[in-house]
Amino acid sequence: MESTEKLQQIASQVRRDIVRMVHGAASGHPGGSLGCTDFFVALYFDVMHTKAPVFNMDGEGEDLFFLSNGHISPVWYSTLARRGFFPVGELATFRKIESRLQGHPATEEGLPGIRVASGSLGQGLSVAIGAAQAKKLNKDDRFVYSLHGDGELQEGQIWEAAMYAAHHKVDNIISTIDFNGQQIDGAVENVMNLGDLRAKWEAFGWQVHQMYGHSIDDIRRIVAEARDACGKGKPQMILMTTEMGKGVDFMEGTHKWHGVAPDDEQLAQALHQLEETLGDY
């Protein structure tokens, strides 16, 4: 088990990568990426059992991860690169022509770590559940993790998938909602209120956990709790409270940085707040 301090150092570097990538491409989604950084680092550097840096599409004997809200690709790309799946230098190609690091994650160019394209919202839970059922058929006892945005829950397919997983007792999936309360047009509660999410997921037959997405220890503890609850007939859902833009003060807590790149001055200001721990790409 990695020390909390080590994971926090990695997270600081991933946050630097995110703002540099989005600045370099002059486009991308820094807000949600920064908000989910601690989760990604905890998952890939501690929680998940993978064969990193080796990547196999079928992921036999490994935990799998699916990102359904594909627009937060910067945090995933940085995490994958820092975990060794592909060279860190490739982060500089994000969103540029001939890059494997597409604006939204894709499999076409074979970027290690990506198993399905995502970006058009609401599809990733179905895919993750399908992969979890394939694991059961293959008598593979590892787990499937997925991450979804809170605004994404407005897509109907999510609830089709929710119903299905409970009905078919898919109890090897641990899904997480990034509950930052923001979407492109403003606060989720103003755009389309999600109501009582815990009650909704419980009513759909999932076991629900809650955690604070900026405490590495909380993430490790709650994900372990959800993993221990697997195998008992219920899919697992973690409602993760996060702050959009976490780590860069002027990006925190606002939907304004959902899909906007910082200019040169803002980049300098952001990097000033984020310690370079592993070396910039």
Binding site: F66, A106, S118, S120, G124, G130, Q133, L137, Q157, H168
Partner: protein, 318 residues
Amino acid sequence: MKEYPVLGKKDTRSGFGDGLFELGQTNPNVVALCADLTGSLKMNAFQDAFPDRFFQVGIAEANMMGLAAGMTIGGKIPFTGTFANFSTGRVYDQIRQSIAYSEKNVKICASHAGLTLGEDGATHQILEDIGLMQMLPNMTVINPCDYNQTKAATIAIADHHGPVYLRFGRPKVPIFVPEDMPFEIGKGILLNEGSDVTIIATGHLVWKSLEAAKELEDKGISAEVINIHTIKPLDEDIILRSASKTGAVVTAEEHQIRGGLGSAVAQVLAEHKPTPMRFVGVNDQFGESGKPDELLDKYGCGVKDVVQAAEALVKPRG
């Protein structure tokens, strides 16, 4: 004119069901998903024999497409089953992103395609599905003509790695493809040699085109008939060879004439061998309730329509 004895009459969806059942016995990686239409899709035999590999999804087709994409990760070969309408238009973005763009080995099996769905009417009679599917990069599009060919195609696509759209239908139609004929994806079949006009047909319209060729023969017109069961990838060679010989091409399909087989053939000919053409299919209309053959006749997809189209091309030449 080459004779094709009728070996019986069955629905093409039964060919799918029987092919799927056979695959269940021979290929342990084949799994099946269905959105509350197990009986209509003839998937019961597979469901009963292989309950662990059959997944009832309920009335939730978008979820079904995503599940199927996910099941390929780990080596499963998912066959999804629902009506053609709900297999394509309803779930286009799910297919586009999670299956086609992601290069997932999913077989989208679609029954009740076209007008011959009959009495349920236009809400269910999709006539745009071939167009929707052939536009997607990575997608193979197959529309077999009878029970035997549908069964063979179902079995063949399990060995083809990549997304496939397999289109079939509801009514009982004549069986004339030999039971033991192997199915070759992308390979058109020359059913009748002729010299005056080429009829290129797919699906239920293949048999209608053979009947039309007989009528044309009585009128002194020699029609070549080609079964294009795979619309994508299209067998360009067989089309160009025949067009070079006859100099006139009719396409016939139970689909909109915009975006279907006719458009695909026209594109090949326009580029390599410009040839006078006529298009038999539905012309920018929705269908309606009725009996299959009544509907085919009313919407320009009957034997007489194929005959008239061929005559219109051949007669001016004298």
